[in-house]
């Protein structure tokens, strides 16, 4: 059975590129463009990986991450955060909220795929 990733990204063209790349690697990709419904969908889907943008409509990536870590079922879920805000403060906030890995845009496809493999190696 193919692995499942939930991608929370409001930038449709990035989402499309990531979807293409991960699908080619055999992943099933579910895309959400609004932060407000993300936590609920992730809880229900129990994916193998969450890819999370920071600036989202409805709810920020930090808030989503915080809510997921509060939930015992999602506390250990690998979360890869993708953000255009590469300031050290954002990285600190993400680490504090329990991010598994943090990447800044623009990133190379190879870097992104390597990060996905690293987080789901087991």
């Amino acid at each position: 059975m193919s692995k499942h990733v939930v991608l929370v990204e409001d930038e449709l063209n990035i989402a499309e590129a990531i979807r293409f790349l991960l699908s080619n690697e055999g992943w099933r990709v579910e895309t959400i463009a609004n932060g407000a419904s993300a936590v609920e969908i992730i809880r229900k889907a129990s994916p193998d990986l969450v890819m999370l943008d920071v600036m989202l409509p409805g709810k920020s990536g930090f808030e989503i991450l915080h809510d997921l870590r509060e939930d015992p079922d999602c506390a250990a879920l690998p979360v890869l955060m993708l953000t255009a805000r590469g300031q050290s403060r954002d990285r600190e906030m993400a680490e504090k909220a329990g991010v598994s890995k943090f990447m800044t845009k623009p990133f190379s496809n190879t870097e992104m795929l390597e990060a996905v493999r690293e987080l789901t190696a087991s």
Binding site: E11, N13, I14, L21, R85, K105, F107, S108, N109
Partner: protein
């Protein structure tokens, strides 16, 4: 000072408005006749003025002491300190005020850097779009067997994102440019003066008709809008005095008439009117129809006056290109230089540059001759680049192999020359 404007009061008591301003803000101590005059003009007891100033001074001293953690009975001795050491008390209070001003500036800049929502969202938009372009372009370039429908889709996405990227970049540059203009508005006294002169198109009718007295110059300076700072007033006064002296030697009307008859030839004009070439260069710069630029530098090579010409940039914060004819003129007093120049960069335009240096005051024993150099830039109508190539400043000059280069250019090698 209700009912009496600062300028009126200053005039009544015979001091400048800027000096009165310093007194009003407790930056100058007053006493004796001046104190009596101000009190008289305001209709108050002299003691009321000194008490107010002293109270403000003591409050500032207490604040300074409080900020450094001084407390208890020592803090209560601010009054005694101000009484026994009035000059030192002024110095300390002045330092405290300066610290406050600097703190406010730092706060404003820090706030700006971290909380400018427009800048933050513009950068976010740029990076996000760049990420989409990078990822999509890599897919197109690296996926050997891309199905046609995916390829078309990614091409459409990349087209859309490129346009967004370009729009966002343009919007960001426009925002930063506007901001830079604002920041430039009054960032140095020299710039204040330039703004003041530009608002008068670099010529003053009242100085041309022989009314260029000290009083008229003071009136022009005090009427400046926005008001000039003290150092800017000092610079403006020197410039206007020079203009008034030049106008006495040669009015713009006479010069314009002769230029119409014989063209722009500073040396010929100098002979015709019997005035120094430097005067001709300054006067030509003030003729509105010529669109000429003027740069003046002092003996150290520092630019002390600039009137911009479109297509020739005079840097504000870094050293000018040493290839400019003005610096050759500085090194060759008395020689009049004429050279066609084109400044490398975006808006390449050709100018005929005339440069000469002039000694400011008469000779004195063992005193250096204080010289200034002037460079007039007359746009060449054809507009095509030509003559010698010069830069504005090394940092933004694309010349690949300039012997005069002081530092690398940020434009990088291979930039168009």
């Amino acid at each position: 000072m209700a009912g009496l404007k600062q300028a009126e009061l200053a005039r009544d008591i015979g001091i400048s408005a800027s000096y009165l301003n310093l007194i009003e803000h407790n930056r100058r101590r007053i006493g004796g006749k001046l104190l009596l005059n101000i009190a008289g003009a305001l209709g108050v007891e002299p003691q009321a003025l000194t008490e107010g100033a002293k109270a403000a001074l003591i409050a500032t001293l207490r604040e300074a002491a409080d900020k450094t953690g001084l407390s208890g009975p020592e803090l209560e001795r601010a009054d005694e300190f101000a009484g026994r050491f009035p000059v030192w008390a002024d110095v300390l209070a002045g330092t405290r005020r300066r610290v406050l001003t600097l703190e406010q500036t730092v706060e404003a800049l820090t706030d700006r850097l971290s909380h400018d929502p427009h800048l933050a969202s513009s950068m976010h938009e740029l990076l996000t779009t760049a990420a989409a372009v990078r990822s999509t372009a890599a897919i197109l370039a690296e996926t050997k067997t891309l199905q046609p429908e995916w390829r078309d889709r990614f091409h459409a996405n990349i087209n859309e994102d490129s346009r967004r990227l370009s729009d966002s970049a343009e919007a960001l540059v426009a925002y930063l440019d506007a901001d830079a203009e604002q920041a430039e508005a009054a960032s140095s006294p020299q710039e204040e003066v330039e703004e003041f002169l530009a608002s008068h198109k670099f010529s003053f009718a009242s100085l041309e008709d022989g009314a260029g007295t000290e009083g008229e110059i003071t009136r022009l300076i005090e009427a400046a809008d926005p008001a000039l700072s003290s150092p800017a007033q000092f610079i403006a006064r020197g410039t206007l005095l020079q203009m008034a002296r030049d106008a006495e030697e040669l009015s713009l009307t006479r010069l314009a008439q002769q230029v119409k008859e014989s063209g722009v030839d500073p040396l010929a004009l100098s002979r015709h009117f019997g005035v120094p070439v430097a005067v001709i260069l300054r006067r030509l710069a003030a003729l509105p129809d010529l669109g000429a630029g003027l740069v003046v530098c002092d003996r150290s090579g520092s630019v002390i006056f600039r009137k911009s010409a479109e297509g020739f940039t005079v840097p504000r914060y870094s050293g000018c290109c040493p290839l400019w004819p003005i610096f050759a003129a500085l090194a060759s007093p008395g020689q009049v230089l004429r050279e066609d120049v084109t400044q490398l960069g975006r808006a390449q335009a050709r100018f005929t540059a005339f440069a000469v240096s002039e000694t400011l005051a008469g000779p004195a024993y063992n005193a250096p001759a204080l010289t200034q150099a002037f460079m007039l830039l007359i746009p060449v109508p054809s507009g095509k680049p030509g003559g010698i190539s010069v830069g504005s400043t090394c940092r933004v000059c694309p010349h690949p192999s300039c012997g005069a280069r002081r530092e690398p250019s940020i434009l990088g090698e291979g930039a168009e020359v």
